[in-house]
Symmetry: none
Subunit: 423 residues, 2 copies
């Protein structure tokens, strides 16, 4: 099954918006055995949408359109679809009722634009949108499928996950695809490649190993196309076991989870509570930890002491140390851990202080030099990171590497347990 | 002059890499009056590259290819180009000499792959690459232009900036393009559309108004194609002025900036300092504020009191109020503002407490109900948000709306100034 992703939006052609939807859709389709062989982006004009739709429908089994749906630019995409399939536009009472309910809850009136949004090509089955007003559309005809989705990423993802992907999985003729994913943190792609070179050389032809790098992390995805599920899974388990042998604790989990969820789980089962003290990361570590639902069962909070005076006042960092060593130093992050442990009465803590950039670097402490510390009152582990020049990637990478450092520290203190929330 | 951007790479189709190159190229071309009307992404196969090149060359004045150049996957793109133009591949002594110099400097030998990389289609003029080994290519024929660039973003950008864009600017027949962008926060897309309906109806044909929505924000972009710069800019200024009249303070800035930068600027020029106290946002407000380089000139820090006990201990929220009203309530966010103002000695503060979801909702306080407060000791403004069910969008939207609320509060207190950092 070959797919085309058709993205609609002048703002994408103009480069004002980066198209992240297509990458996400590509990953999802690939995971269920559908190959994206082309992506096209066109502007918000009837002619360009129609001609791309024509081209896509004639050459692909599946066309996924994103963008061009919503209260203000609804019309063109739906008009293009209706005219391509030569069907009428019909009013969807269900959609209108849903929109009215949403606005009723918000205590605001729906506008005429919202009513107009409820006209749909007659041959479309509507895919419910739990995150917004414009539903997705599913059209199946001549053994081909067209899916049209709004361009707002969280709406698109919600419709894909809840409605489109489950339907796609049931289509006949999909060659089953099996995945086994190992999640690593703290090792670079080339370091992993060199440790796994033997395993990769001996990989059978029907198994593939892909490296999916992100900041501070690499996901390793084993895939098998076709064949018997039980046989393939057993084969992949054998390879996974070899990979575990080569990468050890760098693997933090397997399957579909995140480092922050995994760290949370580790804390929760041991009854340990966590607090953080941040400087250059400006809340990014807290933000990552609290992105996990239920983090309140083990996470107490953070203090972002962006200013040195607050590091002294609230975290007990001695002004002499700040003066002699500077805020970006081992003793400062150590004391930040001690300080937040006692202020927030936590069992373990993470701290970070560094030069996120782009300004503020010195020859001694260039942009990208960041100290992190993890541990408890008895044992604090520190590490100096040497990152790049980009502020946002420095902040994000620090959050990942600091959480990973605490995870490794916890693995080295297997006996440590706590009694949960102190209050 | 109409352009096609052709991106080559399996990793992009698979969604392992997000294509940021095309957005950047789109912005650059648009700024010099070249309109990108289509983008295509294909995989690393000779057939797909050749057929897209064929299609692009027949329909566009300019085709820019990125990816598919470099020591490991060099061959296919150049073979496709040479075969399309029916020219030989010739060895570039200059390129080889440059590569040898680079490796000499690195103290490593160049590989055979690097020598192979020096064969180029005979009709290509080479565009020097100061950041890597693979030069770009420029082919002009039949009044059309093909530019081929490596896919590594900083190499692509360097060749574009230093060699390709200067040449493109000199091409005859470029129609200038003008933009005027207004940035709004706090109003929905449909609310804006209804307020601007009169203006939109009377928009002259050569002007376009685009809505670019994001969480809690909508960018409004006026564009004019062709004509005299001064005339077009005056026309757009007239429309912009009508939009200002309809949207008022919802417009936080015009041009290329962000809400967090704009809020920071407002604080900085008034000498005011900011602190935040967060609960459900878990550091997201701090994270947004500190994403702006130089935030340390006005931002003191945040306390994320994820746990109620910490709200009492460090922010002075009375336990009775937590017991009677719950943590998600007006008096609690008000006291969080008061508490952080005094703890961090800030001039103004933002606080937020709510049910981010997906769990934790009750009939009284459903998922998505979030209280925010902004202000100083004399005047605190609170607002209840009713957001959706998605944890991460609830957190992100709260951060945007809370920053916007403080911006509006500051506009309503024009006389308020401070004396900068308290330490």
């Amino acid at each position: 099954m070959q797919a085309l992703i058709l993205t609609i939006g002048d703002e994408i052609l103009l480069g004002q918006t980066i198209d992240t939807n297509s990458a996400w859709i590509g990953q999802q389709l690939n995971a269920i055995g559908i190959q994206v062989t082309r992506r096209i982006t066109v502007g918000d004009t009837l002619e360009s949408i129609s001609s791309s739709l024509q081209e896509g429908w004639s050459s692909y089994d599946l066309v996924i359109m994103t963008g061009g749906l919503g209260p203000t630019k609804d019309d063109i995409t739906k008009t293009a679809i209706a005219s391509f399939f030569q069907v009428e536009m019909v009013f969807s009472e269900d959609t209108y009722a849903r929109i009215l309910r949403i606005f009723d809850r918000l205590g605001r009136p729906a506008t005429e634009a919202h009513r107009a949004q409820c006209f749909m090509p007659a041959n479309a089955q509507l895919l419910p949108n739990s995150m917004g007003t414009a539903p997705g559309m599913w059209i199946k005809q001549d053994h081909k499928i067209l899916i049209s989705l709004p361009g707002v990423p969280y709406e698109m993802k919600s419709i894909m996950t809840e409605a489109a992907l489950p339907r796609l999985r049931q289509q006949p003729g999909l060659i089953p695809i099996f995945h086994h994913t190992l999640l690593t943190a703290g090792l670079g792609e080339s370091e992993i490649a060199s440790r796994l070179s033997n395993i990769e050389e001996n990989l059978p032809d029907h198994l593939k190993l892909a490296y999916l790098p992100a900041l501070g992390q690499v996901r390793l995805r084993l895939s098998a196309y076709g064949g018997d599920a039980r046989v393939r899974e057993a084969e992949m388990e054998t390879i996974a076991d070899q990979i575990r042998g080569s990468l050890g604790q760098a693997i933090y989990a397997e399957g579909d989870t995140s480092l922050e969820a995994c760290l949370g789980e580790l804390l929760l089962v041991r009854g340990l509570t966590l607090a953080t003290a941040e400087s250059c990361t400006g809340g990014a570590i807290a933000q990552a930890i609290t992105s996990v639902a239920g983090a309140s069962r083990y996470y107490l909070g953070t203090m972002v002491a962006y200013h040195n005076e607050l590091k002294t006042k609230h975290l007990g960092v001695p002004p002499e140390i700040l003066a002699s060593e500077g805020a970006v130093s081992r003793p400062v992050v150590e004391q930040m851990v001690r300080g937040i442990l006692s202020t927030y009465q936590a069992d373990v803590a993470i701290s970070a202080s560094g030069v996120a950039g782009p300004g503020g670097g010195t020859p001694d402490k260039p942009v990208g030099m960041i100290w992190i510390a993890v541990g408890n009152q008895q044992d604090i582990r520190t590490r100096q990171l040497k990152l790049g020049k980009n502020r946002s990637t420095n902040i994000e990478a620090t959050a990942i590497l600091a959480m990973n450092e605490l995870r490794l520290w916890l693995l080295d203190h297997p006996e440590l347990t706590g009694s949960g929330m102190p209050f």
